[in-house]
Symmetry: C2
Subunit: 183 residues, 2 copies
């Protein structure tokens, strides 16, 4: 039941469903993904439950928008979620499951190739996150202490992203070296 709470969090500021999707892609892609086909029905359900308000609005480009915003009741739900303590053990890493069974591939070259693909992916991801962090650093010279609240907590997730993906890059490189030794 986290999509609900993430929407309540994002919609503390007013946004359309389409904008919410962009927020997922740009800001949350590090740890959560959602499709438009999930977001639209969920927004309607939360509005029916009195956790969001809707308002029609004109768009600068394209058709009219529906702008949603979290209500006081929705805000209470969000705070309850946070106050209930960290929700853990949500992780599902398909590529690690694949790594576990990598021995099922007949050829050594195929296993190496798998890891090389993984390396490219992780390096790309790491560079993306580092670039975003560099931007934030450039904007706030006293980083991370000088960040205002509305940037500080989001930035914590960025800091974990960089560390975590860095660890993954190092791991793939180490794994590749071990694999190549094995022949």
């Amino acid at each position: 039941m986290s999509l609900k709470h993430i929407l309540l969090g994002i919609l503390q500021q007013p946004h359309s469903g389409y904008d919410v999707k962009k927020t997922f892609d740009h800001v949350f892609s590090n740890f959560w993904a959602a499709h438009l086909s999930q977001i639209y029905p969920q927004l309607k359900r939360l509005t029916d439950q009195g956790l969001l308000t809707v308002q029609d609005a004109e768009s600068s480009k394209g058709p009219n928008k529906k702008v949603y915003q979290t209500t006081a009741k929705g805000q209470r739900e969000l705070v309850d979620w946070l106050a209930h303590g960290p929700v853990t053990n949500t992780e599902k890493l398909a590529y690690l499951a694949q790594t576990f069974f990598l021995g099922a591939l007949e050829s050594h070259a195929d296993r190496i190739q798998f890891m090389e693909q993984l390396l490219l992916h992780m390096q790309h991801w790491h560079q993306t996150l580092c670039a975003i962090q560099d931007q934030v650093k450039a904007e706030y010279p006293n980083y991370p202490h000088g960040l205002p609240d509305e940037e500080f907590y989001p930035n914590l997730t960025l800091m974990l992203g960089v560390k975590k993906v860095g660890a993954k890059v190092a791991w793939v490189q180490e794994s590749l070296a071990l694999l190549q030794e094995r022949q």
Copy 2:
């Protein structure tokens, strides 16, 4: 569609549904969780599709078991999954979403408490993984080079687990220090 492939991977060796669940809890808990109520129907479906075989067997303790094993067709499906390249961007970290919105908690003490709970969780998880790794190291003096294939690939997932959770512990500690500075 990964549960299917993980089952095909586990059932390269014969196991009952109940045993498969224990494998998830002990070996996969690092990166994948599954409930018995998912596993049982899925095993039936995969058997109907000719990807698994079933056989009745007696149990040493308790009622009779149904022992499943991957067929040649199932093995081909597993290999296809691996050959298709790493499946990435599956991650959903609810506690990071919570961290993102931590500013919604009114009191500073509540935010500190959230991070302290997260620290305890991550430290516990890290110790568990390190203990397992120490066991493997003790068993194979030439670790990790001397591992046989059936241990080598699973051990790669353990190595990432240790690195990744280590990065998370360091991050929570750093975040706590930053939070305490902010007052």
